[in-house]
């Protein structure tokens, strides 16, 4: 969501954009006038009117540079240049031995309009109005000077005065902000920030839910499914470790800190390596194939998430598939890392999974979505299960640094 411009910046941005538009009008008018001069020159070979174009070059040059120099010095220079241009063009055309047909095709009004488009500085609207009438004065003085030079009568161009007034009105009424708008802007901005916070919180909630499932629910399920008797040493160690982790301060922050999240690790200390090691410790026979070192290209936060997701896949194999054999294959082509976890067990129908089962839904799928990945599941009852996890290797986690929006928050 765009924030829009805050009330204190909107008038200045509007003025600046208006001035740039005025300069574009001026430059288009001047270039069209130059073409008209050349066209007229080519039609009246006896006249010498092309030097009029030279008189306009300084003004055109300044307009081309105007974007970078929106200050009163530039505006004053432009008025001098356009005043000189108007004077030069009128004198060149007016001093021809034979009358040049100007009035029927074009008039000097367009040159005067170019003078009105001076715009001025990006300061207040009143200053802009002042510069516009400054442009009118310069245009009229240049025309009068040319008339005196040529011995013609002097008259004020009321049409140009009318256009100057219209431009002044336009400057004054262009995009004023009402009280309601001024009040609304901070509310919209605050709504954007609140949404960003809500999105961040959602990510943390998903992470917490996934970790909760990985640890507490898995241990409770393991306890419930034992045949009783002594607590195994492995399970006791895992429970002890996870209980300590749950109450420690960095339970949720692991790998989420900005700089740490973007650091990389080698295969031996990657999340996937640890997941496979733990899967083997739990009693699974795991074959690994493919481009394993490619996992080292992942940022730490992605690597941790991938490791935890794969570990959950392996726990699911152990708990639900009825087999103790699994294969983990890694493909690291281009900017996408794919990890395939395959078992030849009893398989399942994903849609038939009860709504209170969170292994695949939260610990695998949501967790990977939070780091920009996607998960595809192919499973047929009696014919095993394949879970493909794909994750972009490129920098940045969606919503982590540049933008803080989850892909699909509820």
């Amino acid at each position: 969501m765009s924030l829009g411009l805050p009330a204190h910046l909107a008038p200045l941005a509007g003025r600046r954009s208006f001035i740039l538009a005025q300069h574009v009008v001026a430059i288009t008018i001047l270039i069209a006038f130059v073409f008209s001069l050349f066209a007229t020159q080519s039609a009246q070979l006896g006249a010498v009117i092309w030097p009029g174009t030279i008189a306009l070059l300084p003004a055109i040059g300044l307009l081309l540079l105007g974007k970078r120099t929106l200050n009163s010095g530039w505006a004053a220079s432009y008025l001098v240049a356009i005043g000189g241009g108007i004077y030069g063009v009128i004198v060149v055309i007016g001093s021809q031995p034979h009358p040049v047909v100007v009035g029927a095709g074009f008039s000097f009004i367009s040159l005067k309009l170019a003078a009105l488009m001076v715009g001025g500085t990006g300061a207040s609207a009143i200053v802009g109005v002042g510069w516009t009438f400054g442009g009118f004065l310069v245009a009229e003085l240049a025309t009068m000077g040319a008339a005196l030079t040529l011995g013609n009568a002097i008259r004020v161009d009321l049409v140009v005065l009318g256009v100057a007034v219209a431009i002044a009105v336009a400057i004054l009424i262009n995009n004023p902000l009402s009280r309601r708008q001024i009040l609304a802007q901070p509310r919209v901005r605050s709504a954007v920030h609140a949404e960003q916070l809500a999105a961040l919180r959602y990510r943390v909630e998903v992470k917490a839910a996934a970790l909760m499932h990985d640890t507490v629910l898995n241990h409770l399920a393991a306890i419930a499914e034992t045949s009783g008797g002594a607590l195994s040493r492995e399970l006791a160690d895992q429970i002890r470790r996870d209980v300590e982790s749950l109450v420690s301060e960095d339970w949720l922050s692991q790998g989420s800190n900005g700089e740490v999240a973007q650091s990389r690790s080698d295969w031996q200390s990657s999340g996937l390596f640890l997941a496979i090691q733990e899967g083997r410790m739990l009693g699974l026979d795991i074959d690994t194939t493919g481009d394993l070192p490619a996992v080292g290209r992942l940022e730490r936060a992605k690597s941790i998430a991938l490791g935890l997701a794969v570990k959950q896949c392996l726990v699911n194999v152990l708990k639900h598939s009825g087999t103790r054999k699994a294969e983990v294959a890694v493909y690291g082509a281009g900017e996408l890392l794919s990890v395939l976890v395959v078992d030849g067990g009893r398989g399942f129908i994903e849609d038939a999974t009860p709504s209170n089962r969170f292994g695949l839904k939260v610990s695998i799928r949501k967790r990977m979505e939070m780091v920009g990945g996607r998960v595809d599941v192919w499973s047929t009852p009696g014919r095993g299960t394949s879970i493909m996890i794909q994750i972009p290797i490129g920098q940045g986690i969606p919503g982590a640094k540049q933008s803080v929006q989850p892909s699909d928050p509820q």
Partner: protein
Amino acid sequence: MTNLERTRQQLDPVGSLGHRLFTVLLVSAGVVYAIYSTVSHPSELSSPPLAVLALMWLFGAWLVVVVGTSSRRGPFTRNAHIVVHLLALGSIALSVASEWDLNTAVQDDFGPVALGLLILAMGPYRPASEIVGAGVLSAIFVGFLTLLEAPFLVASSAPTLVYVLVSTAPLLAAAFASATYSRSMVKEIERWREHDLQDVAATRDDVLGGIERSVQQDRVTVLGRDVLPFFNTILQHGSISGDDRVRARTIADSIRAIMVAEADRSWLELLFTSQAPDLRQLEAVVADPAVCAAAMATEQRTALRAVIVAISDESSFVPNSLHIGLRKGAQTCHGVLRAEVGASDFESRSRFLPYVALMRVVFSDVRVGFRDSTLTLEFAYEQR
């Protein structure tokens, strides 16, 4: 995601409301000039009925702009922009026909000026590339018309190219200027947004740390009641009894039930919990049986949130009167928001205008009603 166009109106819907007066005056000036230009040169009219028709077509273009940019309408669309050009070009063609053989000079024809002003008015509402494209195509058409009438112009001793330049330069100048304004405003908005995002990113780790501590605290509180004491008992005894197995299953079921309830709550329902401090514990009835709230894009959630905050901030708002209903259609979701805002209909209309403008940009089919101090806002959006 909603596909916002790169226009001031869509990227800054609240701020762009201020353009309306300028837009109306600008396009009205074109119509007034057209009438003046037509009636002040009666000797140049070879067909007065065609001249009247030309003015009517121009009035049609004026109407499209004035109605289309109204704050009660949605964003000004590309189609409306095309219609404006077509009507204005039709008007110019009719005007040329009405002066056929009698026109003395092209520089006092109203067509290029009136269409130029219409093009200038598009700056806040349409993207730069579209404004230039439409403007250049219109200029080519007008130039072609000028070529056709050039032989009949009285002062035909001037080169034809000069006539073409005179009739097309206002259109090109207006198109380039309008596009420059559009692009510049969009860049200013995007620059500000970038700056704001950098601010957010700079404080992200601190904010995230706070959220993580808060979420962790919530979880530890839940776990501290049953799970941690249970695990400690198991670890102390070093064995698992039949009762322990039953208890493990019971605790797991209760945790799953909590997780299912959390997963089923939409962001909209979460708005009215302690997680949304900007809403100050506002109470609302949310009816969303199909969980349509999940289908809203970030921009849509933000706009709806801003409206809800604005309603709750009104001193005349009647507490507990906020109802939000979402239902699933074939391809779209439909929403209705109702709230008693306690003000007169006219007052309410003016108060909520900026937020309605925001809603119109990100939702489709936005309808607003004010009756008996009750604001009703209907909106629709695609299911993602």
